[in-house]
């Protein structure tokens, strides 16, 4: 990252702090926010400079008098573009792991600032009805703002196909993992398709990950409905809005063709929202739990749907079976969205693979016994040296660098 990149990043961060703190009364600014803001200021004179520059921009805007001469309306058209931006915090605050809380704040800031390998490319991608494909390579992370205001954070080696239509928004996750921050639009359901699984949401934050042919869905905010592809297809053949349970349509149940009056949409096996263990392949019936508006969920999603609320996770296996819904710490489970990797008794070979997706310098484990060794902890994805130090602290290892591209770790004598 050269000087201009650093300044550009500092500008974005300053603008973020300015808008974040600019309108908050003291009671609204938490101790944590003030600590983070203070630490950010003390991290670099560049940060101080950019904050003063942004203040100057604000001052200029306050003094500006020629608004009427600008050719703008108050109902601007939605612009069919996406822009790539540096990643700012997306997963809700305060949900960090224990390990990250133990890490000194200054270190967290430095790591966050240096570790996020984000494409800040000022490229613009036109979206149209045929959709747009967005991919990230190894060691590349991107944040993409869709035309509807939704933000998608793509992790390394991730592929997406985005189609924003008039009546629905579809994103196909072809590989990898991404965090979706969905802007609310009740008229256009937002659905992520991953393998044979569909995840549908309205105004929420959730992560979808494809790993070893499994699809892992984790919700940070709001609610989502998870269903097999066949479910979506049958629903969409009737109506795109009928695939709704976690959404904003608390309509009374409508009988479907062939069903008896009064029983078409209400399953005798109905279970509370977000507590639905089971399998996607089973006809488990719709969920009558409360929607965001407090009414009954539409029962038009016929069976097989799993509902997730905040801090819940489900893994859908390739076979179509789903694990029971698990209560998780979303901040920890979605740590990857903030450039952190969380391992829990994970073999070192898998840990190295995970690191290698985030870095150009590739880690190789030189001995089988070392590869089988398991480790637990939280690491910054772009900082493999921390991992190497961690391994070295617990075992005798030999670290050899092979040019600029590889680091081989072997068992020591």
């Amino acid at each position: 990252m050269d000087a201009s990149d650093r300044r550009a990043r500092a500008t974005d961060e300053a603008a973020h702090w300015w808008t974040r703190l600019g309108t908050q009364a003291p009671a609204e600014v938490s101790e944590t926010e003030r600590q983070e803001f203070t630490q950010w200021l003390r991290d670099s004179p560049l940060h101080v400079a950019e904050l003063l520059h942004v203040a100057h921009v604000h001052d200029a805007l306050e003094r500006f008098k020629l608004w009427d001469e600008l050719p703008i309306g108050t109902q601007p058209e939605e612009e069919p573009v996406t822009t790539l931006r540096p990643r700012l915090r997306m997963v809700k605050d305060g949900a960090g792991s224990e390990d990250s809380r133990r890490r000194p704040r200054r270190m967290r800031f430095l790591l966050a600032a240096s570790a996020v390998l984000v494409a800040i490319a000022a490229s613009w991608l036109a979206l149209n009805s045929s959709g747009t494909t967005i991919k990230t390579d190894r060691a590349e992370r991107r944040e993409v703002v869709l035309a509807d205001g939704s933000v998608v954070g793509l992790e390394p080696e991730t592929g997406l196909h985005v189609i924003l239509g008039k009546h629905r928004r579809d994103v196909v996750l072809t590989r990898g993992r991404a965090l979706f921050h969905v802007s609310k639009d009740a008229a256009r359901p937002f659905t992520v398709h991953a393998g044979d699984t569909n995840v549908r949401a309205l105004g929420t934050i959730f992560g979808v990950e494809q790993r070893n042919q499994n699809v892992i869905v984790t919700v940070s905010e709001g609610k989502v409905a998870v269903a097999p592809t066949s479910q979506l297809q049958s629903d969409t053949s009737r109506s795109s809005s009928s695939f709704s349970l976690a959404g904003k349509q608390p309509q009374p149940a409508q009988p479907v063709s062939g069903a008896k009056d009064g029983e078409a949409n209400v399953s005798p096996h109905a279970r509370p929202l977000g507590r639905v263990p089971g399998t996607l392949s089973a006809h488990s019936g719709p969920e009558p739990g409360p929607t965001e508006e407090g009414g009954n969920a539409s029962a038009s999603g016929q069976g097989g749907e799993i509902f997730l609320a905040a801090d819940e996770q489900v893994t859908v296996k390739n076979s179509g079976d789903a694990t029971p819904v698990q209560k998780v710490d979303a901040g920890r489970a979605l740590a990857w969205a903030q450039g952190r990797l969380v391992f829990d008794s994970t073999p070192l070979s898998e840990v190295a693979d995970e690191f290698n997706r985030y870095n150009r310098v590739q880690l190789r484990i030189g001995s089988p016994e070392l590869a089988r060794r398991t480790i637990s902890g939280v690491f910054q994805a772009s900082d493999p040296q921390t991992l190497i130090d961690f391994i070295g602290a617990g075992a005798h290892v030999i670290v050899r660098r092979h040019g600029n591209d590889a680091i081989v770790i072997s068992s020591g004598p």
């Binding site: 500008t11 603008a15 009364a25 004179p45 101080v48 200029a60 600008l70």
Partner: protein, 177 residues
């Protein structure tokens, strides 16, 4: 009943901006420094304080320190550099700070920079700064989520900072043409 000041970041800035603005528009300033120099000094002063102390009101500290630095430099430069012959050329009638900010050159420059923003970003700034709508009110008006408004604000400020950077400062430093 006493009114409790909001003390938001923007209001802290408003309180201390006068010397900063004076510094920024001071075409007659003997020492040609820029905001980066001020920031460097502010940064050093920030480090001298205990973090716990700054954390109480970081918003106030940052602008008060910047104002102090600018004021101190202005005093120093006045004494140290008062007799340099070439500065005599700059001894022309000065605009007041407000006049300098309101002059046509500056207004045109800000207008040009805002013109680089997208239609929605322009509209949001206009609704906020001209009509006085809050972010929540703007979100309702434009039928988008508050997060979108927040993000557009951030993007607009970043773009304007890059767009206005030297050009506006230059215009301010040169005053009327």
């Amino acid at each position: 009943m006493t009114l409790v000041p909001q003390n938001t970041l923007t209001e802290w800035f408003r309180r201390w901006r006068s010397p900063l603005r004076k510094f920024l528009v001071g075409r007659g300033a003997a020492r040609v420094a820029d905001l980066d120099d001020v920031a460097q000094e502010v940064f050093l002063r920030l480090l001298r304080y205990e973090s716990a102390e700054v954390v109480q009101h970081p918003q106030a500290y940052i602008f008060k320190m910047a104002a102090n630095v600018v004021a101190e430099w202005a005093i120093r430069s006045r004494h140290r550099l008062a007799h340099e012959p070439r500065w005599l050329n700059n001894l022309v009638a000065q605009d007041t700070i407000e006049e300098a900010f309101d002059n046509q050159v500056v207004q045109r420059e800000i207008k040009r920079a805002i013109g680089k923003l997208t239609a929605r970003e322009c509209a949001i700034l206009k609704l906020h700064f001209e009509e006085g709508l809050s972010k929540a009110e703007i979100a309702l008006r434009l039928r988008v989520s508050p997060r979108v408004i927040q993000r557009d604000f951030e993007t607009s400020y970043s773009k304007l900072r890059r767009e206005l950077a030297l050009k506006l400062t230059g215009a301010l430093n040169h005053g009327r043409e």
